[in-house]
Amino acid sequence: MHEVGIASSIIESIEAEARRRPDAQFTAVGVRIGELSNVDRDALAFAFEALTLKTPLEHLRLEIEWCPRRQKCLACGEEFVVKDWELTCPKCGEARSTCIGGTELDIAYLELEEPCEKS
């Protein structure tokens, strides 16, 4: 279980961003977690909540986008989602394909409110 470490890395990124923009109010962070990333969604959400409790980031929402494994067929170029470990192209039956999704462990976006510039 390394979700606490993953959550810490996400929080460190946000803290770095918060130092850069001290006036901004951060409301949410969006992360992408791939099926092959070995990160458990529930454990990550739990770790994130526990680590931000009673900190300035306590009310920050963690928005997780779950990414299934996706392959691209080496013959016809079809892109498909893998179900039941079936890597054969559903369109042309080609066995060879390359992995194009499912390993994500990314911070995609931050949602924040910044006070309006004073004129």
Binding site: N38, L105, A108, E113
Partner: protein
Amino acid sequence: MREVVEKKVLSENDRLAAELRQRYREQNILCVNFISSPGSGKTALLEKTLGSFAPGTPVAVLTGDLQTDNDARRLMRYGFPVRQIVTGGTCHLDARMVERHLNELGFRGPGLLLVENVGNLVCPSSYDLGEAAKIVLLSVTEGEDKPLKYPGIFHRASLMILTKTDLLPHVEFDPKLALENARKIHPEIDYLALSSKTGEGFDQWLAWLAALQQKTRQEAPATIS
């Protein structure tokens, strides 16, 4: 307002791993990262591997565990530089730990750096250590479906080694099924089967390692004299 960030969660580890990879390339070091469940035979494989090298062969070992330096003591008997990384509870090695211990070890290439990760099939697969290859071990006393249960590591590993083959007559383990499962996740994964106890399959393993070393050497920049 929403602001696009688009960065890897582990970007700091990735940055350090890229530095290590650059160092390995410059110093002509082949680094391989051994990953398996606890008790699959990583240390035994390393012992037998070190035992097969002639004295003075440029090889070093970093071995990770939550606690104790037992593995380092086992491995030191072969006369090569070994350093234990005690993670103190962390379930994987990261690039910073490897960098620090490599500096303390004072190992410089050209040569071979064997990194034994913490026994765990989950977390170590997320942390790039700058290695040329991840090697996943599966012993015949485990289940053939482990590749399906832990797809992340089998997807990232270049080689799967089936260990403890001397026990095959005593257990209900189907190597063919285990390999089929691994190739469902990663069709191109290399495969070897061996016993660190009897030495069966070791020639193929050492040949695999030598071939990777040869390939790495060809990709390394010309030495500046």
